[in-house]
């Protein structure tokens, strides 16, 4: 009952960097460790049962709910959070451009199309949309809906979010 909380040490690979975690409790989720131990609060906790998608991160190229991943089991995986998307954006060539652009094309489209209101679902959706378009650059409307069906938004009614995704698809198509 009175076991000490917090004596685990391990290293995670996040956004291309090794991040050391110390004094952790083995029961902590990846979401908790990102937010509370590694100063990466971009992934949000809104259901803690894999329903809402607010905590979506990429793990070895797959979109996962970080609330359902035990942090200590993520050792060895290549993890990308919303904070690391721009460095991983294939459409951006240089570090200078990363600094100049500040946001990815998906992030910019969410802003310009009015896909952001309270913004709590936004980081998870941004990661999910990047994941979709990286795997399938020309999805049908149904594929877009299906691929973000695991991300719940309570403000927008989704229309502006679909518009943002469509805008990115068109711009990427034109630049191919």
């Amino acid at each position: 009952m009175n076991e000490t909380i917090g004596n685990e040490m391990y290293t995670l690979r996040i956004n291309g960097q090794d991040r050391h975690v110390k004094d952790a409790w083995v029961g902590e989720s990846l979401l908790y460790v990102l937010r509370e131990r590694l100063e990466l609060p971009g992934a949000k906790g809104a259901c803690e049962q894999g329903e809402c998608g607010s905590c979506t991160v990429l793990m070895d190229g797959d979109a996962v709910c970080s609330c359902l991943v035990m942090a200590a089991t993520a050792v060895g995986a290549d993890i990308v959070t919303v904070e690391g998307l721009i460095e991983n954006d294939p459409s951006i060539a240089s570090t200078a451009e990363v600094i100049a652009r500040q946001v990815t094309d998906v992030q910019q489209a969410f802003i310009e199309e009015g896909g952001v209101q309270c913004g709590f679902c936004t980081p998870g959706l941004i990661v999910a949309v990047h994941h979709l378009l990286d795997k399938n650059p020309d999805p049908t409307e149904l594929q877009v809906k299906e691929s973000i069906s695991g991300n719940i938004c309570r403000c927008t009614g989704y229309g502006r979010i679909f518009a943002a995704v469509e805008a990115v698809i068109q711009v990427r198509k034109a630049s191919r």
């Binding site: 009952m1 009175n2 000490t4 909380i5 917090g6 409790w25 029961g27 908790y32 937010r35 509370e36 100063e39 990466l40 609060p41 971009g42 992934a43 949000k44 906790g45 809104a46 259901c47 803690e48 049962q49 809402c52 607010s54 959070t81 919303v82 904070e83 500040q102 946001v103 992030q107 910019q108 969410f110 802003i111 310009e112 199309e113 009015g114 952001v116 209101q117 309270c118 913004g119 709590f120 679902c121 936004t122 980081p123 941004i126 149904l142 809906k145 299906e146 069906s149 719940i152 938004c153 309570r154 403000c155």
Partner: protein, 654 residues
């Protein structure tokens, strides 16, 4: 600062699709929501809740919890130094239950510890002895005098009658129905979260909180903490949606109490499950409604009895009830009405504000009735609504005259004109079936339905309440700073306020100061009121500053200030050639003005429910096309067509 104008750039003034100033931070994940806060030396707070809907507390033993390594404090009702209860309208809800728990999930104790898991173990170690009682869960039974009164204030929270016109009049056709509306939850995405910092002397606290109304929270918190309001500072934490669920106190008092007890910053956040227990819901309602109409379908009289289940504590039930019953007629002409409304206390979860605030329940009933009326008169759902549509100048069943534009007919016609969606194709992807990726619907059981809903909804607070808003504008060197306590919950006031300042003052650069209690109240971000109320306050403050600027420029350049106006980003002389940029005109001076915006006064309802109780109204028509698997009850929304009365469009994008 350059005074060269860039005429090609669209300035984000009123009417343009201005972008959110918090947009970049929100898409990057760097926007600070209240749950993102962290402080050196902080502890986590957590709440112990009742597992019973109704029980007597025999004893609470916190000894074992306090012995757990890492636990700093365990508090119960006896640790509340001030008022033991709080509430928006009636302070009838305990900070912690002491004698009775009256709903499942009612707070009983709170702990502070070094880790969320330590908190969980501490909560599990608190021993509460309950004598479990039989809960009162049926509002019809609850309001009977013979039923056990579950609260010292009684089980009937409010009764209100409406009698308008001739109560005995009848007509050719009557339609009636009993309607049951279930409980709903706002389910904002950003769960309740706060961080409280105690001040060094233990005589004050600063709370960073996701809320809808900082000043209302502060008043209730300060009373429970027994601190002067000036010693309780509230700062708006980033809010992940609200929809009414953040109007009431949830973790505010607990968080502050733990901070004051431990002398350390306390972070509290609810899980999704706890959130459902921790805030109010939409009232379940039972509504009987009867319409009397002519053969042609013209409404002659409406009768109704509405029972709203308020749950264990009052919250905003009295106001929700009034919204419900005063919207019995919907957006339709009706000269005679008899309505009885009851808001009742039960051992169900407390109910309060949720978008629509009582009007939704009434709307479900009156719109179901309109469909019945259409059928009884041989009319289409659109025809019956057009025949009865309300117009400017019509009298409501409260006797209040609809003075504003009332584009009910236009909303219906515009909605009706939106093309219907294509029928479900024979070769449609199974993902488009009701149930979606569950892939459970059977093609042959899918039936398409079309439903209409037309509504009007009051704006701002009613029944004599003066829900004013305050804003301060400070202009210096071409930069306007705006200060207000308005809660940005996602609606976009942070976009609108700078648009107003740019339009009124001719500035390009607008800085938003922190939303906190270091200025007068902005009222609540609810009741569709902040654009009107806080927008009005920002507009008023900017106009006062503009007057001061004109006086300053007039004096300096020997022009009567009355001749001056703003054109784009310049101050110009309307009857001369003088022109100076606002940036230059405000060089090295600071003009600062505060403005309080009040809406027109409203009245209480009398015993017959008569009075000018509402400030203003908005109108909307919806047409829903749905596919339903009639065997499984699965529903797929194919299309929502809508036309809404939004007044002047201030930002087409938002």
């Amino acid at each position: 600062m350059s005074t060269v104008k860039q005429d090609t750039r669209l300035r984000d003034i009123l009417g343009t699709s201005a972008l959110r100033p918090d947009g970049v931070a929100k898409v990057m994940g760097s926007f600070s929501f209240s749950s993102d806060m962290w402080a050196e030396n902080m502890l986590w707070g957590a709440t112990l809740r009742s597992p019973h809907p109704y029980a007597r507390i025999i004893s609470i033993d916190t000894t074992a919890a306090l012995l757990i390594s890492g636990v700093s404090a365990v508090i119960t009702a006896q640790d509340v130094p001030g008022k033991p209860t709080y509430g928006l309208i009636s302070a009838d809800q305990p900070v912690f239950a002491s004698e009775f728990v009256r709903y499942m999930g009612e707070p009983v104790a709170a702990v502070a510890a070094d880790h969320p898991e330590t908190c969980r173990r501490a909560l599990a170690a608190i021993i509460v002895n309950y004598e479990v009682l039989t809960p009162v869960v049926d509002p019809e039974l609850a309001m009977l005098a013979t039923t056990e009164q579950i609260h010292p204030d009684g089980n009937l929270i409010r009764y209100q009658h409406i009698l308008h016109g001739d109560p005995l009049i009848t007509s050719d056709i009557t339609v009636e129905g009993n309607y049951t509306i279930g409980m709903q939850d706002q389910a904002f995405l950003g769960l309740e979260a706060a961080m409280a910092f105690p001040d060094s002397g233990g005589n004050g606290v600063e709370l960073h909180i996701a809320t809808q109304w900082l000043h209302e929270d502060r008043g209730q918190i300060a009373a429970c903490l027994k601190l002067p309001e000036d010693n309780v500072r509230l700062v708006l934490g980033g809010v992940g949606g609200a929809f009414g669920a953040r109007e009431d106190i949830s973790l505010q008092v607990h968080c502050c109490l733990l901070a004051l007890r431990t002398g350390r910053p306390i972070k509290m956040q609810y899980s999704r499950e706890e959130s459902f227990f921790g805030h109010v819901h939409r009232h379940p309602a039972k509504i009987w409604m009867k319409h009397h109409a002519t053969k042609e379908g013209k409404i002659v009289k409406v009768e109704s009895r509405m029972v709203f289940d308020g749950g264990a504590y009052t919250s905003t039930s009295p106001a929700v009830l009034i919204n419900g019953i005063t919207h019995t007629q919907g957006p339709y002409q009706c000269e005679n009405a008899v309505v009885d409304g009851y808001a009742v206390r039960t051992n169900n979860p407390p109910c309060g504000a949720m978008r629509g605030f009582g009007v939704v329940q009434a709307c479900f009933a009156h719109e179901s009735q309109m469909d019945k009326l259409a059928q009884a008169c041989g009319l289409s759902p659109v025809e019956v609504r057009l025949i009865n549509a309300m117009h400017t100048g019509d009298k409501l069943i409260t006797g209040q005259v609809m003075e504003s534009v009332a584009p009910v007919e236009r909303c219906i016609r515009e909605t009706d004109a939106i093309p219907m969606p294509e029928p479900l194709a024979a070769n449609a992807n199974v993902l488009e079936f009701p149930g979606g990726s569950g892939r459970t619907a059977d093609r042959q059981n899918i039936v398409r339905g079309i439903g209409w809903g037309v509504s009007m909804k009051n704006l701002m607070y009613s029944e004599g309440f003066d829900d004013y808003a305050t804003a301060r504008c400070t202009l210096t060197n071409g930069i306007a700073s705006l200060k207000f306590a308005t809660a940005e919950v996602g609606q976009g006031f942070v976009t609108l306020a700078p648009q107003i300042a740019r339009s009124v003052l001719g500035v390009d650069y607008v800085v938003l100061e922190t939303s906190d209690t270091q200025i007068g109240s902005a009222g609540s971000t609810s009741a569709s009121r902040q654009t009107w109320m806080s927008g009005g306050a920002v507009d008023g403050a900017c106009r006062l500053v503009r007057e001061r600027l004109f006086e300053h420029v007039g004096k300096l350049h020997n022009i009567d200030p009355i001749r001056l106006m703003i054109e784009h980003t310049d101050v110009i002389d309307t009857i001369g050639t003088f022109r100076i940029s606002v940036a230059e005109a405000s060089q090295d001076i600071t003009l600062s003005e505060t403005f309080e915006h009040h809406h027109r006064k409203t009245e209480d309802l009398d015993a017959n429910g008569q009075g000018n109780c509402h400030v203003a109204f908005a109108f909307v028509a919806h047409r829903a096309v749905v596919d339903v698997d009639i065997d499984l009850g699965l529903v797929k929304v194919v299309q929502i067509a809508t036309a809404q009365d939004v007044g002047r469009v201030l930002n087409p994008l938002s």
